[in-house]
Amino acid sequence: MQQNVARGATPRFVVWLILLSVLAVVFFSVTPLAILDWLGKTLPVFGTVFLGIFIEATPFLLLGTLTSGLVEVYLDKNKIGSLLGRSSVSAAVMGAFLGLIFPVCECGVVPLTRRLFQKGMPLSAGVAFLLAAPVINPIVIISTVAAFGWGRMVLLRLALSLVIAITVGMVFSTEKDASNVLRPMLLAHEHKHDDDLMPKSKLRRALLISADEFFEMGRYLVVGALLAAALQAFIPQSALLAVGNGPALSVIVMLALAILLSICSTVDAFVALGFANSFSFGSVLSFLVFGPMVDIKSVLMYLQVFKRRPVAYLVLLPFLFSLFFGVVINYWYP
């Protein structure tokens, strides 16, 4: 049944992107020899960047799916709903802080959120968790402090991530019917994991479920890494960086870079540090707030949890908020 779902939306999108990159290749090189020469230079870069992202992200994805497997086996359904309270505000706030208990990055958070939805988590809490957890968790806080020291950058990163996550969570809570937002497979009463191979032992069952999920989510990680690596290998980064350094333009450039680079939130602070002396404070901050919420691989994974329109909201709302805060901070508190 999953095959049908997966064949629907994303692969067509992927085919188009592949076609476009093929056209780009043809466009940039007139003679076949030039193509070969160019490929000889760029393919190894592509391979290295792609494997870099994949190797870096795989352990995090594994940890996320492992947590998800354990949640599936050990956590009672409906417990979450009662734990998070009834009002959508408190649910969203609790959801945003849940990362402190489940320290996951943006690769691990998607399978875990999906599992929590299956376990009856309210929409507002799930969305707030999805957006906030990659930042509001001990590992990321420590790495941000290590890079920037205790100060404005760390505090604003945490505060803005919370504000955006909770707000978007509230926006989603206005939708009363979860089936308009979530993929149908999440709502079905699952007897998905009762095939004959499922062991009796809870721990072994958790491991098997995690393995399934690793493959299911892994493909989106792979496609995301593939796209990010292709963009990096074939489009000069200098073109992007040269676009602008103004208080507004620099924010847009850094937001674009956040999508393009697709770096794990546990380490993006160190990468942002590299931009800190050439880019405005607000733009680096918005990179750190927006990057963990949206990038190529996480959007592809979001499509496994949400329908397409909600995914558009999940990308656009954080983008607009980050842009707004980044520009405001650049103009008034540089």
């Binding site: 393919l43 920037f148 191979l197 072994r204 399934d212 980064q237």
Partner: protein, 251 residues
């Protein structure tokens, strides 16, 4: 039956991925892809993959025979759980890329698309002050750029002997007797790799080919490039060396 085949392939792929990562680890080439600081996580990933594969294999063995009898009774059930073969295919991709595309760290040929900077990525202040205690001949390209980027008074550093390695890179901004001595700085993985460089002045620059790894020795001088002060080595010797095992610098 299909379920069993799917599970077997799944476990097999996890095992192959495991071996793939172990090979990168053992050959030291993991540092071409990620900052060694995160190698411990890769090790953890290898462990999890191994355990998962083992559990699947042992469950396959345990349930053997039992499922064959039950297959007939569970027709519609089986039908419902068609394994998602597509998942397997996608996880094969990294293995294919890893095997088919020649493995090479980021080098001078990728500077074209990735860009190159002569000002260092900033670091937290305490590690910058530590730099002044280092012996000048042990400083890397990154160390030099950090010093020149963070200090307003550079007089104490000018004339200090430098001895550092990097790859050769040419640029039109420079004169004929100058080249860039480049290194890649990787904070997390190759995706964030940034080329940094200091300028080397060397009369025989024309004899060097781009992307060669060299050890440059000579006193450090100050030059201005694009309006900012950058370090330049007045080379007294340039020696061709092998590419180091860890080609990147890790801040």
């Amino acid at each position: 039956m299909a379920q069993r085949v799917y599970r077997s392939l799944q476990a097999l792929l996890m095992l192959v991925l495991c071996i793939f990562l172990i090979e990168k680890f053992a050959s030291g080439r993991l540092s071409w892809y990620i900052n060694p600081r995160f190698q411990i996580l890769t090790a953890l990933g290898i462990l999890i993959l191994g355990v998962m594969a083992q559990v699947i294999f042992s469950e396959l063995k345990r349930s053997k025979g039992r499922t064959e009898d039950e297959d007939d009774h569970h027709h519609h059930h089986d039908h419902e759980e068609t394994p998602s073969w597509g998942n397997l295919w996608f996880v094969v991709l990294p293995l294919v890329v890893g095997i088919l595309i020649p493995a090479r760290p980021l080098d001078a040929s990728s500077v074209g698309t990735r860009g190159l900077t002569t000002t260092a990525p900033l670091v937290s202040s305490d590690s910058a002050t530590k730099l002044f205690e280092t012996i000048s001949e042990e400083r890397t390209v990154l160390d030099w750029l950090r010093i020149f980027g963070s200090q307003s008074d550079l007089s104490q550093f000018i004339g200090e002997p430098a001895s550092t390695i990097g790859f050769v890179f040419y640029d039109e901004k420079l004169t004929r007797s100058q080249f860039y001595l480049g290194r890649y700085v990787v904070s997390c993985c190759a995706a964030d790799g940034v080329a940094i460089a200091m300028v080397v002045n060397w009369p025989e620059t024309a004899s060097l080919t781009e992307d060669t790894w060299v050890l440059v020795k000579g006193p450090v001088a100050l030059m201005t490039l694009d309006g900012s002060p950058v370090p330049m080595i007045e080379a007294t010797s340039v020696e061709i060396v092998n590419e180091p095992e860890q080609p990147y610098l890790y801040p």
